[in-house]
Amino acid sequence: MVRRILWRLAGLVPLLFVISLLVFFIAQAGPADPVKDVLSQKMSAEQIQQIREAYGLDRPAWEQYLTWLKEIFTNGGGLSLSVRSPVSGIVFPAFLNTLILGAAATVVSVVLGVAIGFVSGIRHGRTADRVVMLFVQIGSNLPVYWFGLVVIWLTAVRWKWLPPGGMHDLRGDGGFGDLLLHLIAPAFAASLVSMLIIARFVRAAVIESEQSDYVRTYRSQGFGRAAILGKHIGRNILSPIVNTTGLTVGSVITGVVFVETIFSWPGIGSVLLNAIGGSDYPVIQSGILLVATTFVVVNLVTDVLLDLLNPRLRHGGA
């Protein structure tokens, strides 16, 4: 097991290297020209060339790549092309914000998803099952665009319960409670899709393990339903929960772009989108590398957890 984990950790290095390569060259191969896109309106070809030189964009791609790689380690990715400020200062805070939103959304989707899936699984086929599932199904399939606006309109404009967006109240001093208040609506909106998926998986798993022989054994021993559900069914559906949760973290992070837009959440999504629009390679590259690293780590943790959860897989052998 230790070897397996170490092996995976070691595997991160080439993986991230490949990702960095791909990210770099895909970003570069795009049709866009950063200088032309952003500045060209007023400039002559000669001036554009000057700026390209100033930014080192005239050098061969591999050289640029090496420079970038070096900069990743030395100063977090160099300077943004469009705003000439350190990439790390642009990418990290935004990414942190996305992580906050992502974590909140993950918590919401896992907690609600598991709860809903559980309830509907144990009430399989009854009214409660139908109602609860319909509720998540409707929730998750409402387009975020539509749903987000309606939520803002109702909770912020109409009833004035929640702020209409942003991360904190610019007039207040922005405490933790304020952040939570601002998180509610976007986290909920961002969690919907994963919530449905988790709920459906949990429901299926509950139904399946309720019919299993070992649950019958425990029932025959007079264990209460709650105890069986909590311990045995709960434990045996942990794997699917962990697996889908791992996926949720990922999908929430990449999927929040639209949520970020609607709820004006200053996250990595809008930074990347802006950077792509401005062909701001250093930002795109470093941003994606950061997101990619997160993914890879989340997947690694998920895999290790899954191994640990399944006694049969634990000892790697057999």
Binding site: V18, I26, L149, L272
Partner: protein, 287 residues
Amino acid sequence: MSTSTHAVVPPRLRRSFPARFVRNREALLGLVVLVVVIGVSVLAPWLAPEDPNAGDAGNVLAPVGAPGHLLGTDDQGRDVLSRVIHGGRGALVVAISSVTVAVVVGTALGLFAAFAGRRTSGVLMRVVDLMFAFPVILVALSLAAILQPGAWVLIGTVVFAAVPYVTRIVFAEARIEREKDYVEAARSLGASEAAIVRTEVLPNLISSVVIYGTSLVGVNIVFTASLSALGLGIQPPDADWGRMISEGAKVLVTGHPGVATFPAVAILLVALAFNWLGDGLRDVLNP
């Protein structure tokens, strides 16, 4: 040994797929809704009362129930009903085809990785991690640069985005199945690894795959709409549910909620139908 006489002959069961399917009300309902929606989409040119793209600048944002426009008109004065009827064509084709491809490819990859040697599987799953890590927007933009913006970009993007998810779900489950005795039994019965994967393990995973796949359809109709809004997919003025929503959002809370809400309801209906179909199919496939 035909010695034992059967006083009690086991009854014949009706186990054929259609028989089971029809018995399952949920699946049937989902199917019916889908057939209706697809039928309406296919027959749109004959069903729609108006040309969905014909605007009437003199009659913009007519309210629901306005004469000649049952569901009102949008900001260009186009008939919302006709647009809703037409709007499913692209969405359905893109969502269904891309999710199908993603599910098939993802399942195949996941199964392969679960049964391949540790090294191959490690490499493959890392490649999948890699796909995960790529922001879909970038994928969409790159595709749009290679192809022209349009349905193919959307399909490609959804496939690229969904494959890693399906793969990981299938991989995780297949790895558990792999350890089970029936796999060993099948091996002892001369099944090749490929046959084991395809005919023995797959039926045990189908419920997860179906659940995931059907969840994805609705989600992806919406997702492709967002890509279209970035200019990478279906182009205006063609009616498309997703686009109609993002365009109608402008007037959602300013007194004309219908423009965005009717297509949202249409998407919801399709997504629900797929969910029902999925849950139903799961029961049918997992008796």
